[in-house]
Amino acid sequence: MLDPTAAPVGDSYLWARPDEHRREVSRDLPTDPVTQARTTLNTAHPRPWGWRVTTYLWTKAVGAGAMLLAALAHLAGIDLAVVGDVVAPALGVAGIGITGALLVWDLKRPERFLYILLKPNPRSWMFWGAIVLAAGAALFTAWLAAGILGAPDTVYDWLAVPALVAAAMTAGYTGFLFGQAEGRDLWQSPLLFWHLIVQAVMVGAGAMALAGIGAGLDAEATALLLAALTLGTLGHVVMVLFEFLGRHTSKQAATAAHMVTHGRYARLFWTGGVGLAALAAAVAGTAWAAGTLLVAAVAGLLVQAALLIYESVFVRAGQDVPLS
């Protein structure tokens, strides 16, 4: 099999200049110690996915995470009051709305976004993702309406399980979508679906902790949010370390991971992605022990930044390893 990583680009092609992106990426790729082989000519392959994908991973996570916790709380009989009835579904609807907008914007031909539904390809998670987002949007809107209109508990009983599933899928389906990006081996992890849900819990809880200040939540509700924030953040950190420092299924994935942990993204990844999250976990844990949302709000802010930074690295590094 031809392996494009076997001959990384040097500082120059033979007779032309590599584009700056490829040049930078190649500095992180090991050369063969014997052949020192170099790619001598290629065309520029800019990363197709950029800040919009990074951002929607976050917006989606916040909205889905918030709804996940709201639905869980209802099923567990914990009253999150206005935070559960209005804030969470509002975050859910806004999250999906912004995500949808970013997704359409990110299409090469945005005016054709309806083709996803009108000319569906049922083997593509692009299509199923649209279904998931549409279902999520409907359920979260219903939840929000129920909250605003003060609907009786039975409405929530009906909505809780579908909303829980929709929230989980809204957060997690991207794992399957990324899995379909063949050749982008960093994204092929079987844990990605679960990891996305953990991330959603982290940032969803963070947002709700912020909203919960002054909302008069009872101890049980407070504990739920603090526990979710602490454990979600810890879980994220542990999964990140496991994913990036553990064994990789392919050379491509290992190369991308190495670029993240030791290469061009290392500083951003360790300080912004991992360091901030670890700090947030510690702060959240402290708040949990103390039972105070005020301190947790700091962690709630930190995790948003940590996830955005992490996703920006994850999205870029996944596309950096050359495929040709």
Binding site: D11, S12, W15, A16, Q36
Partner: protein, 944 residues
């Protein structure tokens, strides 16, 4: 229903075919890709022509839109037996050259000083009359040699020679001595032919002293056949100090110190002799071994076995160890190559054209040594071996051929270089400065000596001196640095805008290709009127053949000079010859088999050539030396003491293209009389009598002349290196690809290749600027650190470093604006770029999308002339010293002191020993000479 002809380049796979069938070539419909998804059909005529971008002359097939006669694209011509439907990147890029928004569309005449960038549009009539009257006066005054035609890319074999013969002018100058004169001498001495024709496809071992798989003559046709050979199990051996694409495909790659190649080959030869892994029968029959013994071992027994013993002893000094030391490579690698070669079973196809033979003092001995190995292994002339080009190339004759002139132009063929196979063209400015002559009319034809030749500033000094060159006419399809200094710039067409024929030794067969103006052919087919090719070309772009016809008529308007009669139609007495007349006659009378092939398809020969663009003349041509002479050939002959069969000649006889006048064959010891070789002995000359006869007897046998850049000449620790400035890119060609955007897009930087060990010693890294100093100046380039070049050697590719002095005088796709200044007096020159390549506005929107900026470094300016004292070949390799760029240096700077270049010229000239041969002959008659005079012309004084 007509049957589709079986074309050599046509391939099918299931229902797919790689080319439209010939039956649809007059009306081929394709949908406009840009209109997709709408289906917009376009109707094309597919008209073949011949690529002009390198000498391989591959077939092209132009898609001419019937609506507006635009050329949509050019693909390969499947009818062509050499290129077989394929091209390199440069072939299809012809379409860029046709559509180049910056091309020269009208004749221009200088209005200011030469080189000042001031031009006016002039009519062809005025230009022709002015040029013709000057030439006419020169001829009338007996100043024939004041007229010179200097050609870069060669045109049709014999065409311009025919024109110059009608004028009686010995004024044919070429670029060959900056190209291939080294190889030509080495090979001529052996065989009388000056080019190899390797049968790569059938070889067992392919030995390349070049990057032949990716560049060179005949790149695309040979590359196909080298790969075929490899697929059939041939081993590929490559000698190249650089890890070229070719080296990457080798079974054995040796990166020798430049200039050591002859030592390596002689070590292989010595091994073959020592181990007697030689083809004794071949050597006994075909080597002039008797002369070898008589000259070098007169006291020994004069028999073949003694010859073998003596020659084995004579070459014993060329051990593997000796070669390894010269080449600075492990001795085992030399032994490995020798073993591969020894195992070739007479099927060694080998090629050298430029490379080491064009780089080194004594480089011609590399070719001589290579043919020694070919002879020893019995690989000459047979299937899978290496033949001379003369067997595999076909040269037709034009109508009403003029007699030969009897002049001798010493500006082109000076006495110092009697054995130079070709013109000492690159010394022309020095000769003019020495007062050896002047030029009244100087044509440069697709030739850019200021840029391509060494010592370009001396060219500028000479071309701007009206006392040395009265009128400089640049015939060119594109702007060039040289055209900037011309008096007239006359636009000539690209490959699909002109007529000529070509034939090259791409394989063991013969073909004749036809280059034709495709729009004009389409106009013919559509019944549209035109007067000449100008009516079919953009603007007033013309073609040379019609230009020469017209010019010749105007030189001799009343026929008094006896010139015009050669340019009369063979079909319409007294009327001017047209290109149709000319080629109709050639194809009807001068190409064996063509009239029959055409008739079989119901066409005239000219129609056949216009349809297919090529005709195959022969296949499987081997061992022509063994062809028995016919009775006719033997009639009226004598056999001399060496067995050479000769017809009587006089001083008015003319030598044929190859061989001596009158010599037709050789009688062997067994009584066979065969065609033999066009050498003086009609044998393969292991002892070259011509070297002896012209006072160079110490080099009469294959030998090793230590190069001017041999390892011991280079003080690596003092910062010295060998610079290889000649390696080529597969995607660019000399100075003619500047206007091809596709090509510039993929090749647009110009780094100096430097091995990591050398980079470390010099303390430089990739992208650092360095100053590289030569004998006469320096240039500033950018480093690329790579393991792809051997330590001690750096390399900077040919093909880049283009510049223009004034806006509009060069291709902005590739060149940078520069200014020239004289820092330390008039004889010193500094070229400095004012900005690199940048996007520009034009009718082609792509010109605003240029994403490259590097115009490269014009290194050749900083090279002094190095004429090899024997072959006259310019020895390109440079001993240089490298240092980090100084604060005042800018990328692309070139600084030269032309007084110093004149000194170096004189140093190299002093290495020669001017000599006349037997009967006061200026050069050996058997060696090919473009525009050869009668035998009288060869002699300084007529013995009569």
């Amino acid at each position: 229903m007509s049957v589709e002809p079986d074309l050599p380049g046509a391939r099918r796979h299931e229902h797919l075919r790689n080319f439209p069938p010939v039956s649809s070539w007059d009306n081929h419909v394709e949908y406009d890709a840009k209109a997709h998804p709408r289906k917009v059909p376009h109707s094309y005529m597919l008209i073949p022509t011949t690529c002009f971008n390198c000498e391989s002359a591959c077939g092209l097939l132009a898609y001419v839109d019937k609506d507006d006669l635009s050329v949509k694209k050019l693909e390969g011509n499947p009818a062509h037996p050499g290129s077989r439907g394929r091209n390199c990147a440069k072939g299809p890029a012809t379409v860029n050259q046709l559509n180049d928004p910056e091309r020269i569309l009208y004749p221009l005449r200088r209005t200011g000083e030469r080189g000042a960038g001031q031009w006016e549009r002039v009519s062809w009539d005025d230009a022709l009359n002015d040029i013709a009257s000057r030439i006419s006066t020169a001829i009338t005054d007996g100043r024939h040699e004041d007229v010179m035609y200097h050609v870069g890319r060669p045109g049709e074999d014999g065409f311009t020679e025919r024109v110059l013969n009608t004028w009686g002018v010995d004024g044919h100058n070429t670029h060959t001595n900056i190209c291939s004169a080294g190889t030509r001498l080495g090979m001529s001495l052996w065989t009388g032919f000056d080019r190899p024709s390797a049968d790569h496809a059938n070889a067992k071992v392919i030995l390349l002293l070049s990057s032949h798989l990716e560049t060179g003559h005949y790149f695309n046709p040979h590359a196909q056949r080298i790969m075929e050979g490899k697929q059939s199990g041939a081993k590929l051996v490559v000698l190249d100090p650089r890890m070229s694409n070719t080296a990457a495909h080798a079974d054995a790659w040796l990166a020798p110190w430049p200039g050591s190649e002859a030592a390596i080959l002689l070590a292989v030869a010595s091994y073959l002799l020592r181990t007697r892994r030689i083809d004794e029968a071949f050597l006994r029959r075909w080597l002039n071994w008797q002369t070898y013994l008589a000259e070098l071992h007169p006291d020994a027994a004069q028999d073949f076995d003694t010859f073998l013993d003596r020659i084995t002893a004579d070459y014993a000094e060329f051990t593997f160890d000796f070669a390894a030391e010269e080449a600075q490579v492990p001795v085992e690698r030399i032994a490995e190559i020798a073993e591969i070669v020894a195992d070739c079973d007479g099927r060694l196809s080998a090629h050298i054209w430029r490379a080491a033979a064009a780089g080194n003092l004594g480089g011609w001995q590399v070719a001589r040594a290579l043919w020694f190995v070919l002879a020893l292994t019995g690989s000459i002339g047979g299937r899978g071996g290496t033949s001379p080009n003369g067997w595999h190339k076909f040269i037709p004759q034009g109508p009403n051929m003029p007699g030969h002139h009897e002049h001798w132009n010493e500006l082109i063929w000076p006495r110092e270089y009697p054995l130079a196979t070709n013109e000492l063209s690159f010394l022309l400015p020095h000769f003019l400065r020495e007062g050896r002559g002047t030029l009244d009319v100087y044509f440069s034809r697709v030739y850019n000596p200021i840029w391509t030749n060494p010592d370009g500033f001396t060219w500028i000094e000479t071309l701007t001196d009206p006392d040395k060159i009265g009128l400089h006419v640049a015939l060119t399809p594109t702007w060039s640095e040289t055209a900037e200094f011309a008096d007239y710039v006359l636009p000539m067409g690209h490959s699909s805008e002109r007529h000529d024929t070509h034939s090259y030794e791409t394989h063991a067969g013969r073909w004749l290709g036809f280059r034709q103006p495709v729009r004009r052919v389409a106009m013919d087919k559509l019944g549209q009127d035109y007067t000449d090719t100008r009516d079919a070309n953009p603007g007033e772009v013309w073609e040379e053949n019609e230009f020469w016809f017209e010019l010749s008529w105007r030189i001799d308007p009343d026929g008094a000079l006896g010139i015009t009669k050669y340019f009369e139609s063979p079909y319409r007495s007294g009327e001017k010859m047209t290109t149709d007349d000319y080629y109709r006659w050639v194809f009807e009378h001068s190409v064996p088999g063509l009239p029959e092939k055409a008739a079989a398809q119901g066409m005239t020969p000219l129609e056949y050539m216009r349809r297919y663009g090529v005709v195959e003349v022969d296949t499987d041509v081997y061992r022509v030396d063994e062809r028995p002479l016919t009775d006719d050939e033997q009639a009226d002959t004598d056999v001399d003491e060496q067995g050479v069969v000769r017809k009587p000649v006089t001083l008015d006889s003319v030598a044929p293209v190859f061989g001596e006048a009158g010599a037709v064959g050789v009688r062997h010891d067994d009584g066979d009389v065969t065609f033999g070789w066009p050498t003086p002995s009609r044998k393969l000359e292991v002892f070259a009598t011509a070297m002896r006869d012209w006072g160079q007897g110490e080099h009469a046998t294959p030998g090793y002349i230590r190069s001017h850049v041999a390892r011991r000449e280079i003080d690596v620790d003092a910062g010295e290196l060998v610079l290889v400035p000649t390696f080529r890119l597969p995607t660019l060609i000399h100075t003619r690809s500047g206007n091809a955007k596709y090509l510039n897009e993929i090749s647009n930087t110009h780094p100096v290749w430097l091995n990591s060990t050398d980079a470390k010693r010099h303390g430089v890294r990739t992208d650092d600027l360095v100053r590289i100093s030569t004998e006469i100046g320096y240039f500033v380039a950018r480093v690329w650190v790579t393991e792809g070049i051997r330590p001690g050697v750096c390399a900077l590719s040919h093909h880049m470093g283009r510049w223009r002095l004034h806006p509009g005088e060069g291709s902005r796709w590739v060149s940078g604006m520069v200014e020239l200044s004289h820092l330390d007096g008039e004889h010193t020159w500094l070229l400095r770029h004012k900005g690199g390549v940048a996007p520009f506005d034009s009718s082609d929107p792509d010109s605003s999308r240029i994403d490259w900026s590097d115009p490269g470094v014009h290194q050749n300016l900083a090279f002094a002339v190095h004429p090899d004292p024997h072959s006259g070949m310019h020895c390109w390799l440079q001993k240089v010293s490298m240092e980090p760029a100084r604060p005042e240096d800018r990328y692309g700077d070139v600084y030269v002191d032309t007084r110093r270049s004149a000194e170096v010229y004189r140093e190299w000239l002093a290495k020669t020993t001017p000599a006349l041969g037997p009967d006061g002959q200026r050069r050996p008659e058997f060696m090919m000479r473009p525009l050869a005079p009668t035998r009288r012309g060869y002699r300084t004084e007529s013995p009569e």
